[in-house]
Every structure is written in structure tokens, then in C-alpha cells.
Subunit: 339 residues, 2 copies
């Protein structure tokens, strides 16, 4: 089955579900869950000069359900999940507890990306074919959401582990399509040097070599010298590529494969599943397009076995990160557990 | 005993200790703890355009010691704490596990502020005289550190609770004297409107009334309409005051008293000690002084009983906060438990 095959379903409450690859219809007793009423606003924070999304229905969202109640597993008789299918390869659906909704004034979109219909495992353990498919799913979603009216930035990310607030264990990530360019992206996209900053950063790391973890098939992974998190890793295209659609399918496979090697190294580092955030930064959407250079930032939240890095007073109140670890030493430790 | 009395002690490793008010010398067997060797650097993060502090000795820092081993309690025979006194009122000392040191290239200073020599309790339960003394201690430290060469911002803050990474339960806060203006302060201090932004924000909240919690003795406390945290509260002077020294002692007492009422309301809100960060924002130090308007921001990290608000993908990777709660409803709930 070719990878691009997508089946679109609209749930009774209007939310879209996209099933990628082969799938089997849901059982006859399938009942789609529906979105609770909620208040969705965006408010301008004049002190921080940033938008805050207010989503006042999320308090009731599903919290670490039993394995048999998993809303990301296939549906079966007696269990209607978020996915109207009794078997699937990868699925994307509009979040039932979103941070923003397409309607004004919030004006955005939140999607959940289910990596596989297998409940166990993680991004790190996805088989090669599912991993390659995920790259195509992300690309499809990026293309689709970027072309929507009012969307200014498509943010593909993953939260992994209870320590970063994950409420479902089934392997999945998320996509937020913001109606504005978020501050972190805006900071990166605002040109301040001639040429592309990310191109220069990659070149510098390659030249220094000291913090490089992977340099293969056009993809570079490194612990940035200016890491905020003890084991932060950035994965970037070596050549200037704006976004996922600017890569060939082989280029995308190389990207996700490097990402997966990093995720596996994390799990080996302290011999526990590493809780992390993965943030994919790309070009903006809509007009005018701000030039970007595709890269992925991993923020693992452990600084040592059983020890979390907290964002406390200095980080939250002043915006100054304190890193207990030298990036060069982190790179050594990660390199030692890289497959 | 007048409040301004301060006794200065220099530990064998060169770190300063300031004892405020009455104190009794340490036991004869007192042995000052000494600072471990470490690497202190600051590194420029070009993607975020911010400094990251690298402090590579902190990994070994004291972690939730037994009550009898508390390093912030008075010293006694057989137990040498950080405080060379067998009794004290309030104490400040240079952190033995700092995020930065006065020497280049980090070039800053980290102090621990011990609110009382009583191990139990918290900022919320400090007796009135200790609370008033704390205001004077903060003011003294702000004055002293602001006048140091190379210091550009004095940041008084408190992390409270294990959920924000606190490793010692004895009531205490911290002060970071940064050799640069941190990004959050820089954003606030950069004028963008005619007049003072904070003056306008206070006036707006007072006019709207809906989110006001306290308006007394020249101090206003409110849930800002653009809160990032579900129960975020800002406490500001109603009139334009740059920093703690610009207030009268009575004005400072009014400020800390309002802060304490907020901290007490937090503890009542979910009937558990509320983990929070407290961040005091003031004018910058050094030249040129950036105009400020003294205000305190509380970031409590619970969004409900037993439920933490996490800074996950959207917050950390995009810079967009999602708040599950309407500021107006949070204000109602906090007002209901305010003393």
C-alpha cells in the first residue's frame, strides 16, 4: 500500500480523523466520543509580549487511563476509542481537548498524531516502516495545515513521559497550528545575520566536531554548545531546507532515523525511559513566509538518574536557564550510548 | 533591636554570610562547609538570544536532607550548618552551589535568604515581625548587590515545594545578581508605550475590578487577565515605585503583608501547601538604569488538587502558554479563601 493513502473521516461533532495506510472499519457498536463545551480565547500578555491560549474545558481531560480504556488504541466491540477503526497504521485526529479551536477568537487547530495502533512502545521503538510512514504523515499534516486560512505556524511536537505531563502512554505526538507565529519561532525566524542562522550553527558544530553525535545522510545531530537542558540535542538538515516538504522522502527518512537514534540513546542514558519534549521548528505558514531551516530540538527533562531539571525561579521568572552539565561532556555521554 | 543591624562574616572559602538582627555565635566545634570546585560559564544561545548559565558543580548539591541535617538551621554542637550562629533572626549567605560566581566569565552572585531560624513553616506562616524584617533584609540586599560593579539586575525570588525542585524545606528564598539584564526583565523594562506599562496594567485592573484580590495601603494584588499559570497573581505598588528602596518601611510592610495573604490563600485553595515560584521584578542595576515598576509575580504550579501544570511542548518549544482556567474564575476562587 503506498504511503500517501489517507482516508478522511468526520466525527459527528465535526472533528476530522485522518487514517493513513491500511485500516479496518470500526465495530458496529462504535460511538464517537464528542467534544465537551469549552471556552477558547487568546489573550495578549503585555508583560511578556506573547499570546496566552485560554482553554477552559481541558480540566476534565483523560488522565492516564487503564490500558484497556486507551483512547488511542483501535476501537473494538465495547470500546469506542478516538479512532473509528478496528485496525490502522497511523492516525491523526483533532484533539477533543484542544488548546485552541478553529473558530475565532482562538483561531487555531490541535491535532493528535497516533504513531501506530500498537499500545506498547514509543517513538524510539517504532519499526522502520512505521517510522518512515510517520515522516510522511508529518509532511502531509504540515502541508495541509500550512495551507489553511489564518494559520501562521505549524508546530509538530511530542511530549513523552508523565514527568512532562503526558496523560496517555500510547505512542503519539501532537501538532498545533497557531494563528500567529509563536515567540520561540519568531525569534528564530527573525533574521539578524546575513544568511541563515541555523546554517551557520550547523557549520560551526561540524567544524568544532566536539559535540557532534550524528553526521550522516545529510542530517546532523549535536548537543548545542549553548544547551539549556543538560542533554538537549538538536537534529538539523545539513543543507538549507525550509521544512519537511523541502526534503525528498529519503531525506525525511534520514531525519526521522537520526531522531530515533537520539531517542534510543536517551532511553539508554539512565536506563529508564527518558521523559522529553521534541519540538520541530520549520518555516512559518501563510503570508509572508518567514524563512526557516528545519531542525528538531529535543529537551530531555532528566539531569541525572531519577533527578529532574526543574524550570524554577531563574528560568520562569527571569528567563535564565541554568545547566548543570557541560554540553561537551553531555555529548560524550550520549555518544557512548548511541547505536 | 533595630531592624537594620547586620553582622558580616566571611567563611574560610571566601563566601559572605550576613546575619540580621540578634544572633548568638556558633558552637566551639563549628566547621564552615566549603564550596566545591566547579566550572562556571555563561554561554550565548543564538537561537533564543539569551544567556545560559553553566554551573557544572551543582550536581552534588544537598538534596532533601533529614530535618536534623538541615543546612539552613542554626549550628549546634555536632552540626555545622551554613549559618555560623547558634541562633539568628534572618540570614543571607552566598550559595555554596551557585548558578554563577563573581569571577569572570560567569560574573554574577547567588545568595540564599533564610527567612527565620525556625525549621518549620513557610513564607505564609512567618510571624509579622519576621515578615517585616524580611522586607528590610531584601531591601538591604537589593541596595548592596545593585551597587556592585558588573551587576545589571538583582532578582529576588523564592521556589517553594518539591514540585518546583526545592531541595531544602527550611523557609528560604534566593537572590540572583545577574551580570546582564535577564530576558524577562529586559522585555518588561524596554519601554514601548508612553509612560509606565505596569502603571497602566494596575490602573486597568483597578478599573475592571473583576480580578482584584487586594487593594489596600498602596498595594494591589490581582490575577492578571493574561495569566499564564492557572492561579498566577501579581502584587504591585499602586503608585509608580522603581524598587524596594523607593518604598517607605511602612510601604514595604504593606507589600510583604499582601504577598503573605496571597501565599496563605494558595495554601488554602486546594488544602495542600501550594508549590509556587515567586519572582520580584524591579528596576535594573548599574548604568544605564532601566526604569522599572516594582511588582511580584507568583506562579503556583498546581492547576487543581493534585494536578500540576506542566511546561510541555507548546510552552517550551514554541513559547505559548496554555491556561486551563479563566483568570476571572481563578480570582473568584482565590478571593473566597483570602484572609
Amino acid at each position: 500500500m503506498p504511503r500517501a493513502v489517507r482516508t478522511d473521516i468526520v466525527q459527528p461533532d465535526g472533528r476530522h480523523v485522518y487514517l493513513y495506510g491500511a485500516y479496518a472499519p470500526p465495530p458496529a457498536d462504535y460511538q464517537a466520543p464528542s467534544m465537551p463545551n469549552g471556552t477558547y480565547q487568546r489573550r495578549w500578555n503585555p508583560l511578556r509580549r506573547e499570546w496566552v491560549l485560554v482553554a477552559a474545558s481541558r480540566q476534565g481531560r483523560t488522565f492516564l487511563p487503564e490500558r484497556t480504556d486507551c483512547p488511542l488504541c483501535p476501537s473494538r466491540p465495547g470500546h469506542s476509542s478516538e479512532i473509528p477503526a478496528s485496525h490502522f497504521e497511523a492516525a491523526v485526529f483533532e484533539n477533543r481537548f484542544p488548546a485552541m479551536v478553529p473558530a475565532r477568537p482562538a483561531g487555531g487547530l490541535c491535532e493528535v498524531v497516533v504513531y501506530t495502533d500498537e499500545h506498547e512502545g514509543s517513538f524510539a521503538t517504532l519499526p522502520a516502516d512505521r517510522l518512515a510512514q510517520l515522516a510522511e504523515v508529518w509532511t502531509d499534516r504540515y502541508r495541509d495545515l500550512s495551507s489553511r486560512r489564518g494559520i501562521r505556524y505549524v508546530f509538530i511536537f511530542e511530549n513523552r513521559g508523565e514527568q512532562v505531563g503526558v496523560t496517555l502512554h500510547h505512542p503519539h505526538g501532537q501538532i498545533y497550528a497557531y494563528p500567529f507565529i509563536p515567540p520561540v519561532a519568531a525569534g528564530e525566524l527573525r533574521r539578524q545575520t546575513p544568511g541563515c542562522l541555523q546554517c551557520r550553527l550547523v557549520a560551526d558544530e561540524l567544524k568544532g566536531r566536539r559535540r557532534i553525535l550524528i553526521n550522516a545522510s545529510g542530517i546532523v545531530a549535536y548537543v548545542p554548545g549553548y544547551a539549556r537542558w543538560p542533554y538537549e540535542v538538536h537534529v538539523a538538515t545539513r543543507a538549507h531546507r525550509e521544512a519537511l516538504p523541502s526534503l525528498t522522502p529519503a531525506g525525511r527518512r534520514a531525519l526521522v532515523s537520526a531522531m530515533q537514534r537520539i531517542a534510543r540513546a536517551y532511553d539508554r542514558l539512565f536506563q529508564v525511559p527518558m521523559p522529553y519534549m521534541m519540538a520541530m521548528h520549520q518555516a512559518s505558514a501563510g503570508r509572508p513566509v518567514a524563512q526557516g531551516h528545519l531542525h528538531v530540538e529535543f529537551y530531555p527533562v532528566l539531569r541525572d538518574q531519577g533527578k529532574l531539571k526543574y524550570l524554577a525561579g531563574s528560568e520562569s521568572g527571569a528567563g535564565v536557564f541554568i545547566n548543570d552539565t557541560l554540553a561537551e561532556e553531555s555529548a560524550d555521554r550520549l555518544r557512548a550510548v548511541l547505536d
